[in-house]
């Protein structure tokens, strides 16, 4: 079980050059255990940079990252252990596939961890099941898979490492709606079944509303709103002001209120709206 706490973290790209740019500005945020946290933000809000801080791919200029109460940069030589505990699936992860078969590619991470062959075998099978890869696909070349299958193979490659925290940067970007729903549903099932913590970066409000237990909104290199989806999406004005949007159904709820039918502004999924409606109609 793992909780990630970030304290006063600042990071500047290209320090000391004319292209200097502050990506993270004094960020303090906690990613809680055993739930799906969504990280939302406009392009350039620092989401991806923050994500690379979580597993030590980037080293903060100032501030700390704590994993289970331990500063991950206390022992810089042990940073690879942090990377095994915090599994990161980068944006468009299908471009990192390289091995001859899907099975061997998924086994790359576990192999690097020094797992024994029979453990690796088990981890690969299990990860493939979580990611929804049928057994016959494991023997294929990763380059023969479809886009959605590749994405799931890359996801399995990280899940196979049994990370305590799974971080996904835009896991559904560039997929068609079907594949999109499937991969997000799989991630959710994985979280529910394993009880581990999952962090999803996205800028799709609909996805976040549907699959996250908690939402952190980033703007200009720092978190601005935090809370449950209901709390966050009821603050539409603030979201608009940082260049974000709210789910369509929340807009419907706001429009209804303007017409005099108040079903509440904390509506963020269609199901939720549907459950509220009968009560309102009775009134």
């Amino acid at each position: 079980m793992a909780e990630i706490v970030i304290k006063d973290l600042t990071y500047v790209y290209g320090k000391g050059t004319p292209y200097e740019m502050k990506a993270l500005d004094n960020v303090t945020v906690t990613f809680k255990d055993n739930m799906i946290t969504g990280l939302i933000g406009h392009t350039g809000s620092g989401k991806s940079t923050l994500v690379q801080m979580l597993n030590g791919l980037l080293r903060p200029d100032s501030g700390e990252v704590f994993l289970d109460g331990k500063n991950i940069w206390d022992e810089p030589k042990e940073i690879s252990k942090v990377r095994f505990k915090v599994g990161l699936v980068m944006q468009y992860p299908e471009y990192q596939l390289f091995d001859e078969t899907v099975r061997r590619d998924i086994a790359f991470g576990p192999g690097n961890m020094g797992m024994k062959p029979d453990e690796i075998e088990k981890a690969v099978e299990e990860a493939a099941r979580f990611a929804g890869l049928k057994p016959h696909l494991l023997e294929k070349s990763p380059f023969d898979l479809s886009g959605g299958q590749k994405r799931r193979a890359a996801l399995a490659g990280v899940i196979a490492m049994h990370p305590e925290v799974l971080v996904l940067d835009e896991p559904a970007a560039g997929l068609d709606p079907g594949a999109r729903r499937e991969i997000l549903q799989r991630i959710r099932d994985y979280q529910r079944e394993s009880g581990k913590s999952v962090i999803i970066v996205s800028h799709s409000m609909e996805d976040m509303a549907m699959y996250c237990d908690r939402v952190v909104v980033m703007a200009n290199g720092a978190p601005v709103i935090e809370g449950t989806p209901a709390e966050v999406f009821s603050r539409a004005e603030e979201l608009y002001s940082v260049g974000l949007d709210v789910p369509e159904v929340t807009k419907v709820a706001r429009a209804l209120r303007d017409c005099g039918v108040d079903i509440g502004l904390d509506i963020y999924t269609v199901k939720f709206a549907a459950s509220r409606l009968p009560g309102v109609i009775e009134q």
Binding site: N55, G87, M90, Y95, D99, F108, G157
Partner: protein
């Protein structure tokens, strides 16, 4: 990351050298190289040396940067110098041990060769790398080679390939970093272990990199074909190169220096080098 790469270290500026036409800069560089190889004695070397210093001053570029460009060559320079010291037989014997002997002429010769290599590299990097953008350079090269198109050499295609290659270097660097990060997140280790282990650790980077490079190449080719790209014939350019009085002055001065070296060689023999 991008700033640490020792490639295309163009230094922004508006000096005399920056303003020269890239075509003439190429001509100047060639003239200077020829001049260096024509030098036969100390006096002519002094002349080309002074020219180099003059160019550095004209470029307004920090001399430290130019010294840095010589850094990768230190080994080659040292080896050449040592070989020359032992190789050349002259009249004044300084030291002998069995078949190995050192002559004064050998030392002198080695010294001049070192000066020659240093000047050659320093001036070409200064004129062609530090003060010319890679794109201007390819443009200049294409126009200088344009006459070769008459004998059916695909000059435009060559220069287009060069431009595209230059254009994609930063993209590929970025991509490499992304892939490295992705594999690092899966526990790959590129910096420890034996040489064989490290070489093996490159496979998970190189394969995805090659695949994406091929994909990019194909996409670019399709995009070009979609816009009916047909190559050099009848194309006009976005940036038309203009020569100015500066270029004329620069080339005349360079020719004068070349002539000066020839005169010095003829009338002041001094220590001559045999190559």
């Amino acid at each position: 990351m991008k700033n640490s790469i020792a490639f295309g270290q163009y230094c922004e500026g508006s000096s005399f050298l920056h303003k020269l036409d890239p075509r003439w800069k190429l001509v100047l560089a060639v003239l200077y190289i020829v001049t260096i190889f024509l030098c036969k004695n100390v006096f002519s070397f002094v002349l080309v040396g002074v020219t180099a210093v003059g160019l550095v001053l004209l470029s307004e570029i920090k001399p430290v940067l130019i010294l840095r460009s010589l850094k990768p060559l230190i080994m080659i320079i040292c080896i050449t110098a040592v070989i020359n010291i032992f190789w050349l037989k002259g009249e004044t014997l300084l030291w002998q041990f069995g078949p190995v002997s050192i002559y004064l002429e050998g030392i002198f010769n080695a010294l001049l060769i070192v000066v020659r290599v240093v000047l050659l590299v320093a001036v070409t990097t200064l004129v062609l790398t530090y003060t010319t953008t890679p794109i201007a350079l390819t443009d200049g090269l294409e126009q200088l080679l344009a006459p070769l198109a008459r004998i059916k050499l695909p000059v435009h295609e060559f220069s287009m390939m060069m431009t595209i290659a230059l254009r994609f270097i930063p993209t590929l660097l970025e991509e490499t970093e992304k892939i490295m990060n992705a594999q690092r997140a899966r526990g790959a280790d590129f910096s420890t272990g034996s040489l064989a282990k490290r070489a093996k650790a490159l496979v998970p980077i190189l394969i995805p990199l090659f695949i994406s490079a091929f994909r990019r190449a194909e996409e670019l080719a399709i995009a070009m074909e979609c816009r009916c790209y047909t190559g050099g014939e009848g194309r006009t350019r976005m940036n038309v190169l203009h020569s100015s009085y500066r270029d004329v002055v620069a080339v005349l001065v360079m020719v004068a220096i070349l002539a000066g070296v020839l005169v010095i060689n003829r009338f002041a023999p001094g220590y001559s080098i045999s190559m």
